[in-house]
Amino acid sequence: MSFALTLKTRLFDRTSNESLMLRYAQSGDRVLLTKLYDTCGNDLFHFVLTLSDPTLAKDICQKTWLKVIEKKHLYQHTGQFKAWLFTLARNQLIDELRRNKHNISDTVQLIIGEQNTEANIDDTAFSVLFDHALLALAFEQREAFCLQQEGFSIQSIASITHCPAETVKSRLRYAKANMRKMLNKYSGEHND
């Protein structure tokens, strides 16, 4: 029983993102990076896309993965790989938004504007309504909500976003409340 458990743990450890990243940091093996990308690539892109636009999201994701290649020796085993990856991406995104003199709230407005045109195509589509509700959230609330949906704990979100855990909790609460409110509103409008 214990042997099976040990074997299972070993096998699990070998395929975990942290183990893959550690091995990649040591060997620089392309296969390991491919595995990591396959595991986290879509999650990262969706997170960045939700906080920006497709072009910027693509650019940020590329830069983030290149940073993983260049700074692989800086990865610490104590941390969760996905949290490290998302922290890198978020920092890049914030830098990029500041460099382009985008106010974070302006970005939200920009995205909402873009999505509104798409929403007109099929107003009844459920996914579009959800998109509306999500993208209408304030940047910090959207960020906290996305990170929670990606499976991060409150502490991890606090660490990624560099703010206290209480603030994260508050943002999450407001994010969910606002989403419900907006979904209600949109659904009410569509019903009319």
Partner: protein, 192 residues
């Protein structure tokens, strides 16, 4: 759409996951990242090879330098002992001459010892006290004068009988070279 009004956390998660499926990362990101990784890997490989060659070359250079310097160090390490010659051996005798001379010397010594023994083999004498000191008179009217120092020395090592009186017959012990080693009273009278 009215069911959206009661959006639970689970429903929000479900909608989020659905949205994520609709926005997967473009394949170009992966291609770009892996191409960059390939470049890095080949560059790292070249650098690694160069470093190996550099290490091997420097090791060889170090060893050759050590080998070049080693003979000098050995010659510096030897301490020569300075011997000053004051005289030169001018003896031109051959080895056989040396042996002959040595035999001749030994033979002379032997003859001298024999002569001494012949002179003093008469170990019996009469002890007389004269004005000059103690004397030993042998059968051939030869008088042997004993010095006070000899008497004192023999007394110290208890090799002279303290009960001897003047006119007593004594036995004299000589060594090979004729030196008196002891004087003891003889039970018999001297008969020449």
């Amino acid at each position: 759409m009215t069911k959206l009004i009661q959006h639970s956390d689970d429903e929000l998660e479900k909608h989020y996951a659905k949205r994520k499926l609709q926005h997967s990362a473009p394949a170009s990101i992966k291609r770009h990242v892996l191409a960059k990784q390939q470049d890095n890997q080949s560059t790292a490989y070249i650098f690694r090879r160069i470093s190996y060659v550099a290490v091997a070359a420097s090791t060889l250079l170090l060893m050759s330098l050590l080998l070049i310097q080693q003979p000098d160090q050995v010659s510096k390490g030897i301490d020569y002992q300075l011997v000053q010659l004051h005289t030169l051996d001018t003896n031109t005798e051959s080895c056989s001459d040396c042996i002959k001379n040595r035999y001749a010397n030994h033979y002379n010594d032997y003859l001298a010892q024999k002569k001494t023994y012949a002179a003093h083999h008469k170990t019996k004498a009469v002890l007389n006290l004269a004005i000059e000191g103690w004397q030993l008179k042998g059968c051939d009217d030869e008088v042997l004068q004993l010095s006070n120092e000899l008497i004192a020395a023999l007394s110290n090592i208890q090799q002279i009988d303290p009960q001897i009186n003047s006119g007593d017959a004594v036995e004299i012990a000589f060594d090979q070279t004729g030196i008196i080693l002891g004087i003891s009273r003889s039970g018999n009278h001297l008969r020449c």
